[in-house]
Amino acid sequence: MSTQVVVIDYQMGNTCSVLKALNRLGVSHQLSANPDVIRDASHLILPGVGHFETGSRNLQVNNLNQLILEHANAKPLLGICLGMQLLFNSSAEAPGAPGLGLIDGHFDRFQVKLKVPHIGWNEIRGDNLPAIFKDIPSHTNFYFVHSYYAILNESLAVSETDYEINFVSAVQKNKIFGTQFHPEKSQSAGLKILKNFIEFN
């Protein structure tokens, strides 16, 4: 099957930077909410900036959530920032709003002395970085903007980052990946992550 990357269009903030990065990588891609297009995707990206509740609600429109769940059974899926948060069961940002439940865990707000949101470049660390981190050493910096962090019920963390506490900055479960940071805004290391994801089967 040829590579056809689909970025899910669910009206959550700015998707332009993801499309721009895919453009730079020269891969065939489109932004879509069309069920037929999503079903034909080889790789799905769930981007997102914004509130968990709006994200959760927008994924229920036109059964986008079902389409993502079907895709994730067999094919690679990458959730970025809010997109990663929506892979989980829930978030303290919007108690009661359902996530996709693909990854067993939830999100809590940072309770730290440092400023929240956590904005800027920070290092990821991992002893066993998975395929999407190919050629990216531990301690590489990525760009973060978020106020909530993952609490996992299963051991799916692949990298951690230090912001007064150590929090999970990337997860993997089979073909499902989530990054709390924004690869599309993380210059060459970020583009490498996207390239590795697209080459993952």
Partner: protein
């Protein structure tokens, strides 16, 4: 550990990038797209692009130039200047802005700021606060430093917080382009009064100025003159700060 961000500021007028002194005396220093490309290659941590003439002349953003800059930026890109309506806002996010910076609208159109925060989130909205501290009164001005607002730096920051803004771009009008160092007193006053991340801007002329601003409390350091007239680069700045023990992103 979170890194101190080094952020070049591109000041745009008509078709070129300019550098000002005390918000006037503009000189052209280059082409916008080339500037963006070079700063991206050299691992600038973010880029700020401000159209300094748009609001004074009641013009909207120059979408064509901004689109070309955005294509070169695989780092967060902040756009400011002349953003007057939700249509401008939607279009700027659509063509690749990550954050929008507001100055005049903070004081003249706060409803727009609230609406942008509601639609795109606090993290996407920067309050650009221009402060004239030449009389030691921290007076906030707008329309490119030409109009008094009646606010001080501290009351303007409170206004920004109340509107839900996510970050402060703190500009010193009287230090702009003078290369005499950041206004440390201003940076300390604002960072102690607010929990919002503060990007310090205005006055950076040598490497030690960046260190001083960081120690005064700035979360991010922006500069222009030092890149164009002093000959320092993102790389020399970061190497210097790393040697001084500050957390910076070297790779």
């Amino acid at each position: 550990m979170l890194k101190i961000r080094i952020i070049p500021v591109l000041l745009f007028k008509n078709w070129g990038i300019v550098k000002s002194v005390k918000f006037t005396d503009l000189r052209v220093v280059g082409d916008p797209t080339t500037n963006a490309r070079v700063f991206n290659q050299r691992n600038a941590d973010e880029l700020v692009f401000l159209d300094i003439i748009a609001s004074r002349e009641n013009k909207g953003p120059n979408f064509e130039v901004i689109k070309n800059i955005a294509k070169e930026c695989f780092m967060p890109l902040t756009i400011g200047g002349g953003i007057n309506s939700m249509e401008d806002v939607d279009q700027l996010f659509e063509i690749g802005a990550d954050k929008l910076s507001f100055n005049t609208s903070l004081f003249h159109n706060p409803d727009l700021i609230r609406a942008v925060v509601g639609k795109y989130g606090s993290q996407a909205v920067v309050a650009s606060i221009d402060v004239d501290n030449s009389q030691k009164l921290m007076q906030v001005k707008t329309r490119c430093g030409t109009e008094d607002t009646g606010y001080t730096a501290l009351t303007a920051v409170r206004l920004a917080e109340d509107l839900g803004v996510g970050e402060i771009l703190l500009n010193s009008i009287d230090r702009d382009g003078t290369a005499t160092g950041y206004d440390l007193e201003l940076i300390t006053a604002v960072t102690q009064a607010s929990n919002l991340p503060v990007i310090a801007c205005g006055g950076c002329g040598k490497l030690a100025d960046l260190l001083d601003a960081s120690r005064a409390g700035a979360d991010a350091l922006s500069a222009a003159t030092i890149f164009y007239y002093v000959g320092e680069s993102i790389i020399t700045i970061k190497n210097y700060l790393a040697k001084e023990g500050l957390p910076v992103r070297l790779k």
